[in-house]
């Protein structure tokens, strides 16, 4: 299936049109049980081992809503500055598709639990863009399909499909933005920053791990263009299941270029769903719908209304954690670093490890240095995230303590970290086993210093003559002789002392 799509350059597209976006994000909650039954949500279980009459839609079964599911929805709503409904209901969204055994999805229709909010997102240069939130509502996930007989598991060309309903009924919160206008050429960046900020927010609330790579957070991107100066929205396309931050940015960019090409040729945009392709960043048309979607929503008769008391809502509001953007700005000031550095730390997923390392006693500079240096590099090379590395913030803090008290220098500390990552035990155990101690025996150091001076008479003379900067060469020689296990600062002191020179 090769479809060539005409594109115009992004710059040309933006010269003639203003993009309008609408983002729909689904978040799978981290509850222990499903939204309407007590089946476990644990990942990795055998197929169809976490189902019951309710989530299989068997006759006579009745749903009961999960209190933590409702609480999580309210928390998300409050963190997004939404109003929380005083009274709302669930609704049936009717459709026939094998991923939903009940033949309807229990969702919310015209009475979402949260509505009218906003999320401020910070772009890389520090500019803050406000994304208005239309609503956040409660619903349930679908089962997982495996398509058999087609190429590479695609639904196209499959002879049949296999269904595992373990995921059917897992709580989902769908968060829908109002049309995002005015982002101009920064639309792709705004979209990405919004999804990133939402992910941070969800994690900070503790309602989900929101791991996009595991499908715990998924994004649908609606996009349309309107000619510059116009205020009438164009026809939109909806790109489904864009499941990484980078893909969100690429999908918006691609659709802007595609729409501009179609419109520029005098064509019209077809309102349709499109599929995003991770490999080349393009989108292709989904199945053309024979008729408009008609879900025949009606109030769910098997569930009673949810009417969160104002006391409960206020209790939840009072217990909200510091919001991620506010926290980042506070930390940035405390650490005295730039917006750009903070952005790198955020992108590396290093904020929490650094904070935990500081809490374990390290100074901010060292904590940042290790997590953004040695550890980030190791994580990168091994394809893991920082929190998956086999080293704890406490262990990193211990290494920095050993550096501060002079028992390790930087070079040795790196070896200790390497040892901890290799599973050789705690920092102290690695120091012991590998014999990594700064040589602080003044006698041994003195001998090494004397040898270095004797072996580099010309340099020693220069230093005696006042060229103190040349001392580096001698320090290097001593470090080499002690296989890096000397305290470089002390070595320098000793050399200058012996040569009768003082610094400054």
């Amino acid at each position: 299936m090769t479809v060539t799509t005409d594109l115009v350059s992004y710059e040309d597209a933006l010269a003639s049109y203003d993009p309008v976006m609408g983002l729909e994000v689904h978040v799978e909650l981290g509850t222990r049980t499903k939204m309407f039954c007590g089946c476990s949500t644990e990942l990795g279980a055998e197929p169809n081992s976490q189902t019951c009459p309710t989530c299989l839609g068997l006759p006579g079964s009745l749903p009961v809503v999960n209190a933590v599911g409702v609480e999580s929805a309210i928390k998300i709503g409050l963190a997004l500055h939404c109003e929380i409904a005083e009274w709302c209901r669930f609704a049936r969204k009717n459709y026939f598709y094998p991923d939903m055994p009940k033949n309807f999805q229990t969702s919310q229709y015209d009475e979402p639990i949260a509505f009218n909010g906003y999320l401020d997102v910070q772009l890389e240069d520090g500019e803050v863009f406000r994304v208005e939130i239309e609503r956040a509502h409660m619903e349930e996930d679908t089962g997982k399909s495996t398509h058999v007989g087609g190429a590479t598991g695609r639904i196209h060309g499959a002879s049949h499909s296999l269904l595992d309903y373990n995921r059917a009924g897992i709580p989902l919160i769908e968060i829908v933005t109002k049309p995002i206008v005015g982002a101009g050429d920064r639309a792709p960046e705004v979209a990405k920053a919004y999804v990133a900020e939402l992910r941070e927010l969800i994690r900070a609330l503790g309602v989900s791990e929101a791991r996009m790579e595991m499908g715990q957070m998924r994004c649908d991107v609606n996009l349309s263009l309107m000619p510059k100066g116009s205020e009438t929205f164009g026809t939109r396309s909806e790109t489904k299941n864009v499941n990484s931050l980078r893909s969100v940015e690429r999908a918006v960019r691609f659709e802007v270029q595609r729409h501009a090409a179609v419109l520029g040729d005098g064509g019209t945009i077809v309102q349709e769903t499109r599929h995003f392709h991770e490999d080349d960043g393009t989108t292709t048309s989904g199945r053309v719908k024979e008729e408009a979607e008609d879900y025949r929503y009606f109030p769910e008769p098997d569930l009673v209304p949810v009417a969160p008391s104002r006391e409960w809502v206020e209790e939840l509001r009072a217990a909200l954690p510091e919001l991620p953007r506010v926290r980042r700005n506070r930390l940035r000031e405390e650490w005295g670093i730039s917006e750009h550095d903070m952005q790198s730390i955020l992108n590396a997923g290093a904020i929490d490890p650094i904070v935990a390392t500081i809490e374990a006693g390290a100074d901010p500079v060292s904590a940042r240095k290790w997590w953004m240096g040695e550890l980030a590099r190791n994580a990168n090379e091994s394809g893991r995230s920082l929190d998956e590395l086999p080293i704890t913030p406490e262990q990193v803090a211990r290494v920095t303590a050993l550096v501060v008290d002079g028992s390790l220098n930087d070079k040795l500390a790196r070896q200790v970290i390497e040892g901890v990552l290799a599973g050789e035990g705690d920092p102290d155990a690695v120091v012991e086993k590998r014999g990594l101690k700064v040589v602080s025996d003044e006698g041994a150091l003195g001998v090494a210093v004397d040898e270095a001076i004797a072996g580099n008479a010309a340099i020693a003379d220069k230093i005696r003559g006042g060229k103190v900067a040349a001392v580096g060469a001698l320090v290097g020689a001593v470090m080499k002789a002690t296989r890096g296990q000397a305290d470089a600062a002390r070595v320098k002191e000793l050399i200058l002392e012996k040569l009768g020179v003082s610094e400054g």
């Binding site: 509850t31 222990r32 049980t33 039954c37 007590g38 089946c39 476990s40 055998e46 197929p47 169809n48 081992s49 976490q50 189902t51 019951c52 009459p53 299989l56 009961v64 809503v65 999960n66 209190a67 933590v68 599911g69 409702v70 009274w87 209901r89 009717n94 026939f96 598709y97 094998p98 055994p101 399909s145 495996t146 398509h147 058999v148 639904i155 196209h156 060309g157 499959a158 002879s159 049949h160 499909s161 296999l162 269904l163 595992d164 309903y165 199945r287 008729e291 008609d294 025949r296 109030p299 769910e300 008769p301 569930l303 009673v304 209304p305 949810v306 009417a307 969160p308």
Partner: protein, 98 residues
């Protein structure tokens, strides 16, 4: 109020995956029209001070604690499946060949 048309019945039948014959479409159009007409009489008494009701019991906030309860075994879950494969429900081709 306008009557239920034959086209509307055909549309509903399609959404409900029901195969109806031509004479059934006419038959049901009349019946559905009567039923909807009867239900519509509620609107005559409903007023601003009567809230819409979707449940006969005056209950709200019936919730359960987030505690795991036993599920069916996969064998039980699949026992009524017309077809199965790899411990999963086997369903016919979802997309028709274009």
């Amino acid at each position: 109020m306008p009557g239920i048309t034959r086209e509307e019945v055909a549309h509903l039948a399609r959404l409900a995956r029901l195969e109806l014959k031509a004479e059934e479409l006419d038959h049901f159009a009349g019946q559905l029209d009567d039923i909807i007409g009867a239900v519509a009489r509620v609107a005559e008494v409903a007023d601003r001070d009567v809230p819409p009701t979707s449940h006969p019991l005056p209950l709200t906030n019936v919730m359960r604690a987030d505690e795991v309860r036993p599920s069916l075994t996969p064998e039980q879950a699949l026992s009524c499946a017309p077809a199965q494969e790899q411990q999963r429900f086997k369903v016919p081709q979802i997309l028709g060949e274009d």
